[in-house]
Amino acid sequence: MPYPSTSDAIEASLQGLVTTFPSLCTRTAFPNTTNSVGMMPRTYSFLKIGKGSGAARPAMLAVAGLHAREWAPPDAAVTFAGNLLTAYTGGAPFTIPAFTDSAGTIHGPVVTPAGTVKAIIEHMDLYLVPIANPDGRAFCMAAPANKMWRKNRAPLPPPFNPALIGVDLNRNFDIAWDFDTYYSAAAAADPNFSAHTSKDPIRDVYIGSSVFSVNETKNIKWLLDNFPITYFIDLHSFTGMVMHPWGIETLQTSDAAKNFHNAAFDHLRDGKLGAAYEEFFPNNAPSKLLDRHNALVTAMHDNIKDATGADYTIGTSADLYPCTGTSDDYAFSRQFLAPGAPAMYAFSVEFGDASEGFQPTPAQYPKVEREVHAALLAFVRYVGIWQGLVPSVVAPSSPSSKICFIATAAFGSADHPDVRFLRSWRDALKERRSTRNAIRLLEAAYSQVSPSIAQYLSEHEQARRVVRMYLLTPLISMLRRLFGGIAHNAN
C-alpha cells in the first residue's frame, strides 16, 4: 500500500488512472504552477471522471490536501477514484470492506450497487483535485521536523524574510476575506475567531496578502469558473466532522438582507459573539438549499458510521470555529453573486480523530480511507438521486437500510411498514450481544449480493410481485408471530 504518497506519487497515480481507464477519465494540468521558496515550479493536475458528455450532466468537485500536514485524504481520494473506475469497468458494486474496530465490533461492508456506480460514471462528471497543495505536502514530508506544516510554500511579498513563508490556502478564498471590514472589531478580536484566522504572516492560519494571492487557490477558482460545477466538497482531517456553510457566521433563513455582500453590515457582523447578525442561507423551493445540505451531511455521516462505526459530528463550518476565506464558503457564495446562477451545494469534512491525527500510521490509515470513501460515495449518490440519475429505491436512506435492499425494492419504498419492521427487527438483534456478530456476518454476506438483486427488482414489476408474495410476506408474517415485540425489547 503506497500510503502515505508523496505529491509526485499522487500525480503519477492520476496518470496511471488515465492510462488504465482512458475512456473514463482525463488528467488536466492546472493553468498555474506552484511558486514556492527553494523549489522548482511544479505542474500539477486534476482528474475528471465521467463517460459521455452533455450540458445536463451534474458536475461535482472534490478537493483534498489544501493543508499540507493532512496526509490521509489525498491518498484516499486517489484510491476512491481507482476503486470507482475499477468497479464500473467490472460491472461490480463499489464495496467498502468490513472494518473491525478496537472493541471487536464489525462494521460494514458498505456496498454501493453496480447500477449506482454505472449512473455516476455515465451520467455525472466528477472533478477530483487529490492534492491541492503539492509543495506544502512535499515540504511537510521532507522531515519529521516539518510534520505540523499547514500552509503552502509561497514567498510573501518583498522584502524576503526566510521565516515568513506560505499562506493558509483555506483562508485565501474570496469570501469575507478582509475580516476587519466584514466583522465588528469585537468579533474580529474574538479569540474563537482570531485563533483560527490571521493577518500575521508567521501564523499557520495566515490569510495571505490579498484574496487569491497564491496560485493554488487561483487554480481552484479557475476550476469553478470554467466548469459547470454545482456540487463541491473539501476533504480535511482530523476532527471527525461533516459540515456545510456557513463558516463565516451562524446562519438564518428568513432575512435575505443579512448577507456577506451587503456592505450595509460591514463592521457590524458579530461572528459567533451573538445573534444580532446571522448569515442568510436560503431554503425556499425548489432548491431547498438548507434542507438539502442537511440531508447530505446526514447521509455522509450515516455512511461513515456504517463503514467504521465512527460517529462524526454534523454541523455548519462555524460550529468548528468561525473563519473567513474558506473554500466551501467561497464555492457556496458564488451562486449569490451571479444572477441566474444555478444552486450550489458545498461541504467540508474533517476526517479521523485525535488518535489518528494529521498523519495516521499505515495501520491506522485503512479506517480513515474507508471514511473518506464512505463520505464521497454518499456525496455522489445523493447528487445522483437529486438529479434523478440514481434510483432512490436502491440507495440506502438510512444507515440501517442496507439489509433491506431487496425488501425496499420489492415493496417500492424504504418507508413501507413491512420494510420498517424488517429494519427494526434486524437492528434489535444487532443491539443484543448474543446475536450482534451473527447478524453482522449475515449482513456482510447479504450485502454482497442484495444490491444487484434489488437493482433487478427495481426494473421488473413481475419479479417484485413474486418476491413479495412468495418470500417476504410469509417471512414477515412468521417473524411477526415469533418475534413481534423484539424491536421494542432490545438489549
Binding site: 508523496t6 499522487i10 496511471g16 484510491t79 499547514r150 470555529y321 500510521t361
Partner: protein
Amino acid sequence: MPDLITIQGDVASVRSLTDIATLEIIDDTGKLIDQNTAIVAAFADDAAKAAVQARGLTVNLIKTEAQYEADIQQAYEAISNVPYDFGGNV
C-alpha cells in the same frame, strides 16, 4: 514532556486556555460537541494538564509524547514515491 491530549468542557473555559504557557492548542481541531461544550486537541506537559483540570475541564490522554513520536516516525518511514497500481490496462 508534552503529551497529545484532548480537552473538553464548557465553551468559554476552553476558549480561555490561551494563557497557559506550556499548552499548545492545535489550531484547527476545536469543535462543538453541543451548544455549550467544546473539545480541542493540544500538546501539554504535566503542568499544563493540571492547569486545564483546575479550570474544571476534562483532560483525556490520547498519546504520550513517546507514542506520538513513534507513530509519527512510522508514518514518515512509510512515505512512498510509488504510485498506486489500479490493475493495469483493461
